[in-house]
Subunit: 151 residues, 2 copies
């Protein structure tokens, strides 16, 4: 019942002790000006879910994707928007986003704002799928969403 | 692959659309001036973990407790401190806290500051245990920690 393994990671302006800034993804494209910070991940083997911080620079975006595992998201910096299926939602400080399984989604920072958000996911999860144009054609009927999508 | 079940909960100054402020716990004591907001919980059946927001008013504290499930915590408001086993850590904006299984812990807001934090936990988890005085006697050797503990 000691504090073995417990840890506090102090934060200074969106940088955390002992947490590296990583490339968003190690392969593939379809994203821009986005980085990943693994806050509570495999380094903590007791965890069944991981907490990451993603930061998108002004004008940047995450990849357009879908997967079986859901996302729990909390915005902690700036402003932007998220495509979720056929909808676009504006995002600002402390907004919460639940993205349900198999739903096409993409985060965008505003043109002149950072967008930073915590994203929690299951430790064991499927790999994201990039939808092909046929899938987008079939699933996304909203023209505003289509014109906002980045590939 | 639609957006069935996906949801955005807009936030306005630590209050979220359709999220109620709850009592911290439905029974027991040993806590003061603390409330719970269930952000992403049972309402989202696909989730294997839940995201809650706890807000402690100036001078308040959570219950002193331990349990098998770990805590992933992100501070999003104010200042305070946390007892984790034999240590006291100061907390401020965006600090991350991992509390390992079976570790006695208690969150305190500073005297003149709110402390608000996200706390993520497994959906299926054991009930917290309030340590009796014998357990505290045995496990907590740091006098500063003992004198800070509230029961």
């Amino acid at each position: 019942m000691d504090n073995q393994g417990s840890k506090v990671l102090k934060c200074d302006n969106y940088h955390w002790d002992s947490v590296k800034r990583h490339q968003y993804k190690s392969d593939g494209g379809g994203f821009s000006k986005i980085h990943r910070y693994a806050l509570l991940d495999e380094r903590f083997p007791e965890l069944n879910f991981h907490t990451r911080y993603f930061e998108i620079e002004p004008g940047g975006y995450s990849s357009l994707e879908y997967h079986r595992h859901p996302h729990s998201v909390v915005v902690i910096r700036g402003k932007g928007s998220v495509i979720i299926g056929n909808d676009i939602h504006q995002l600002s400080l402390h907004d919460i986003v639940f993205i349900s399984p198999e739903t096409i989604h993409q985060f965008h920072a505003d043109k002149d704002e950072y967008l930073g958000f915590l994203c929690m996911v299951d430790r064991y999860r499927d790999k994201p799928v990039i939808p092909d144009s046929e899938t987008v054609e079939k699933k996304i009927r909203n023209e505003n969403v289509r014109s906002m999508m980045k590939f």
